[in-house]
């Protein structure tokens, strides 16, 4: 009798467990993302006007957006715009943003970001390819990019628009910046340190003393000795995205004896800067005992770090030199 009670109990517990099998089903289409962007080159800078939203939301506003782009005008080397009716402007944008324009009737409103980057901002082909990759699309050749962009008529500016739809949501911020062409990536496995070093050219200030045999993982290493103290400049390349912008900034802040910043504050603290033909972020962490200047260029395949680290008096005095050196960095054979 008692055994008769036990057997079903044991069977009940023993039969539990899920076996996963191959399944097949019909599923609704994944939500797509659409990016409508305008690139407007000026004399010293390039302006980017970009709207990113779920694909089904932009269509109704495309003509309104294009009308806005047509109405852009140049004043004193800058681009000015007239706010269409119902649009609102917000200057509290992310890094490098000149403005955020909000429009549309549905909540949340659509957002157009306005970004100004120095020079050619990485170039048309690199930027369109960056956008394609952000949307989960294949990269395009120069000829294919030419087919994707359209010149905007009815404006005195050299504005070009691109309208892309893809399956992944483009991220803003540092991951959204132009990255080098894949073929330009240094392939450390096939190269000695000298080979990798020979791929880069940059201005070498006379006061920077180069260590021809830098420590492991560093490509270049310089020392600056001044009466107020010394500083070390290093250039490093790492595989992958190197932990991300926020983590690196906060790591450097920690080294300088500063507190971590929140995600938004981190983004605001970084200043966009062209670096090796791609877009990077200039970062400062000035502590009482130690100061750090850095340039961070993050890419999915490899990331580059140029860092000056030393006595605050020396580092702060080297600010403009450091920025000049960073902007002089070039990779041989690279043409954006």
């Amino acid at each position: 009798m008692r055994i008769a009670i036990l057997i079903p109990l044991l069977l009940a517990t023993a039969s539990c467990g899920r076996q996963e099998e191959i399944r097949r089903y019909k599923a609704p289409k994944d939500p797509m993302w659409r990016m409508l962007g305008a690139i407007v080159p000026m004399k010293d800078a390039t302006w980017f006007f970009k709207v990113v939203a779920p694909a089904d939301r932009i269509g109704a506003y495309k003509e309104e957006i294009l009308s806005f782009v047509r109405a852009l005008r140049a004043e004193d080397g800058e681009i000015k715009w007239t706010m269409p009716r119902g649009w609102q402007e917000d200057h509290a944008g992310g890094p490098g943003r000149q403005a955020c324009l909000h429009f549309g009737e549905q909540d949340p409103k659509l957002e157009m970001t306005v970004v100004r980057l120095p020079g050619d901002g990485g170039g048309l082909v690199a930027n369109v390819n960056r956008w394609l990759e952000q949307l989960g699309l294949e990269r395009a050749s120069e000829a294919q990019v030419a087919g994707l962009v359209k010149k905007v008529s009815g404006t005195n500016l050299e504005a070009q628009v691109v309208d892309l739809v893809g399956p992944t949501r483009p991220a803003g911020g540092p991951r959204g910046m132009a990255r080098p062409e894949p073929q330009a990536a240094p392939r450390s496995g096939e190269a000695t340190l000298d080979n990798v070093r020979s791929m880069f050219t940059f201005e070498r200030p006379p006061s920077w003393k180069e260590n021809p045999q830098p420590e492991k993982s560093r490509i270049f290493e310089f020392r600056i000795d001044e009466p107020e103290g010394s500083a070390l400049v290093t250039f490093t390349i790492m595989g992958g995205e190197g932990g991300g912008l926020a983590a690196n900034i906060n790591r450097w802040r920690g080294q300088a004896g500063l507190e971590d910043l929140g995600d938004q504050a981190v983004s605001r603290s970084a200043v966009p800067l062209p670096f090796v033909g791609t877009e990077a972020w200039l970062v400062e962490a000035i502590g009482k005992e130690k100061a750090i200047l850095g340039v961070i260029a993050l890419n999915p395949q490899f990331s580059m770090f140029l860092k000056m680290d030393g006595a605050p008096a020396v580092v702060t005095a080297q600010r403009s030199t450091f920025a000049r050196v960073a902007q002089s960095f070039q990779m041989k054979g690279r043409h954006d």
């Binding site: 009670i5 023993a14 097949r24 089903y25 019909k26 599923a27 289409k29 989960g136 949501r169 595989g239």
Partner: protein, 456 residues
Amino acid sequence: MTKPGEDVVDRIVAFLGSLRLTVVLLGLSITLVFLGTIAQVNAGIWTVMDQYFRCWIAWIGGWFPFPGGRLLGAALLVNLLISHAMRIKVVARGPRLALGVATLALGLALTWFVISHVFDLDSTTRTINPSQRVTIQLIQGGGAAAVLFVACWLLFQRKAGIVLLHAGVVILMLSELFTSVLAEEGTMTIFEGQKVNFVEDSRTSELAIIDASDRAADDVLIVPESKLKEGGLIRLDGLPFDLEVPSGKFFKNAFLAPLRAGEPNPATQGTGLQVKVESRPEAAGVDSSGRVDLPAAYVTFTDRSSNSSLGTWLTSVHLSRERGAQTIRAGGKEYQVSLRFKRTYKPYSIYLYSFKFERYAGTSTPKDYSSNVRVEDPERGIVQDVRIWMNNPLRYRGDTLYQSSFDAETEKGTVLQVVDNAGWMAPYVACMIVAVGLIGQFQLHLLEFLRKRRTS
């Protein structure tokens, strides 16, 4: 006179219901918890759950067999039931017995109602203060437990509380078994202005092969992670090709790195020609950073009709999220292939109006996270705006949607934890039953003591 066979059965039953066995099983359970905790130094929490607790045999360190959580739980359950069957007898007779059985039936029905009815309630249709909601649920559970106690008192009299509190323990154990087998959990990531109708479970992955040629809906074939891990040829019925994961080419957690020149590369097609996989240890259970594993696998596809290879492709969750799916052409059709977190579609969708991350003024200390969403359910004709915020989940169609995380980069995307666990109320009710059982037993002893003192 008893037969020899009956004597053996009685001995076995006596052993299964013995207190010694209880002590041994509890000792083994404590040891298993300790070993499982130590294992989380290197292994992920869900790996440990599967390998130590939600299994019959736990292989400690990969080689030493130890009773798994499921075996210990089942043994404890059997031990508890048999020991009660042996030691506790129904003392009621006649009308009292009938009344006791009827009250027991009522108590069980109420308990079931509390567990299942709460599950059916949708918080989209009513607004209730969360503290009030918890209080009401505890009162409901306590009410059911009180009825059960009356039934136990009618049936077992002096031992009513003991029976009831152990019944609560049984419910607690069964609810864990139920949860481990049937509960599903995942996250719904939604950006402002986006509508999403599926959840992703970052604890496991799946290879999705999608025929998107139909404009209305995708034809999706899913190969679960367990099949990919097994390796070997996997036949894909209904598709013109089969697939195989070469031995050792499934990675539970992996980073992508640039491919060095001359380096051996399993991939012959797709993005794997540019990047390679670097295996990483899975996120440990003791890791407080909240990292998730990003699986990757090299997959070889073979055209079934021509028996020719379609190449070996690198598939990776990271790659799929950054670059989307890769396209394979076979049988005159294009198929999108991607390794992704396991996905479950819901009959409703959630549209995100806005996500708000509030901080205390002048600090970066979080004050509140909240998502203003719209629930859309075409089947039920429901379109309703709801706010989800910390400790205030949305309950809808059996799912509980908690504010879980957000997109830290933009703060314009929310991550909702979606839990489908029909038995989520059972532990609360079980605790109330245990509490009522303990209090009841104490009261019975107190009353008996007082009665004896009065009579003496």
